[in-house]
């Protein structure tokens, strides 16, 4: 269901021993574009430097994402795919099937190199 008022997008980054977790909540619309781009750039740089095995992107509480924000994610994945295979890390999206846009819009992300990107229903 739609809520009556727009919700700001919250971006939280945390790190484990072998992974980085990015949690997105709220609405990723035009107001979130710059922050999302900056966060993903930082995550990418740190993941390479730390030889991170996996980046988990938790969008299970992300109610909306516009195409401009989606483009930020696609650009990030393109940068990842452009790395030498030994420098790459895996990206796993945790989605919520009850948020209807997620599976439809994110399915195309699985077209990146085999095994590089997976979309899971949480």
């Amino acid at each position: 269901m739609s809520k009556a008022t727009p919700r700001a997008c919250a971006i939280e980054v945390s790190r484990g021993a072998t992974y980085t977790r990015v949690a997105l909540r709220g609405d990723a619309d035009l107001d979130a574009v710059d922050a999302l781009g900056a966060a993903l750039s930082e995550v990418h740089a740190r993941a390479i430097a730390d030889r991170c095995a996996e980046v988990i992107v938790d969008i299970s509480q992300l109610e909306f994402m516009n195409s401009t924000c989606l483009k930020k994610i696609i650009t990030w994945l393109g940068s990842l795919e452009a790395l030498a295979p030994e420098s790459r890390y895996r990206v796993r999206f945790l989605s919520d099937p009850t948020i209807r846009w997620q599976m439809r819009s994110l399915h195309a992300l699985e077209s990146f190199s085999a095994g590089l990107v997976t979309v899971e229903r949480s």
Binding site: T5, T68, I74, T75, R100, W101
Partner: protein, 180 residues
């Protein structure tokens, strides 16, 4: 066959009265500026409208996202800060009609022409969307039409581009499931 047609003929009539649905059909028209700041507010209104008048939530979700993307494109590229959105549901005919209009710079108009040419030549909406995703990955700036490809893939609506001078309209029309 792609469910798409492209028109570059003059826009004959941009008024709500040109719509063909019965007078009691659920509909609204929004003309607003400055547009970008209001997009998220309008998106929530549009989502609630669809949830109220459409028979299933999945369809409402798809149409809300598609309408938002059309609106955001129009607002971002409007040269005078104004965008006009019209939505009309014809329950009897089983159709939904979304029309978005704005004035745009010539470069944006040409980019839209090229994109609609690509859409008309595309195999299907899902394949085209996947291709745009891959193409976007190699671009450092601009969306490369990702939003409209998403609209086509998400909404499964037929789309039409109309251009008259610097005014562009995108018409999206789709089928809706019968209630009950």
């Amino acid at each position: 066959m792609p469910d798409y047609e492209r028109m570059s003929e003059p826009i004959a009539d941009t008024s709500a009265s040109s719509m063909s649905a019965p007078a009691e059909a659920p509909s609204f028209e929004l003309r607003f500026r400055p547009s970008v700041e209001l997009i998220s507010v309008v998106r929530h209104f549009v989502a609630d409208f669809y949830l109220k008048v459409l028979p299933d939530e999945d369809m409402a979700s798809r149409l809300a996202l598609a309408t938002h993307e059309l609106l955001e494109n129009a607002a971002k590229y409007s040269i005078d800060g104004e965008a006009v959105l019209q939505v009309e549901l014809d329950s009897a005919a089983g159709t939904i009609f979304v029309r978005i209009s704005n004035r745009a710079a010539s470069a944006q108009i040409e980019a839209l022409r090229r994109l609609f040419d690509e859409i008309s030549a595309a195999e299907d909406a899902a394949t085209f969307y996947a291709q745009l995703v891959r193409r976007s990955a190699a671009r450092t700036s601009g969306s490369g039409g990702l939003g409209l490809a998403r609209v086509w893939a998400e909404s499964e609506m037929s789309m039409r581009l109309l251009i008259e001078g610097n005014r562009i309209q995108i018409h999206a029309r789709g089928r809706i499931a019968a209630a009950g």
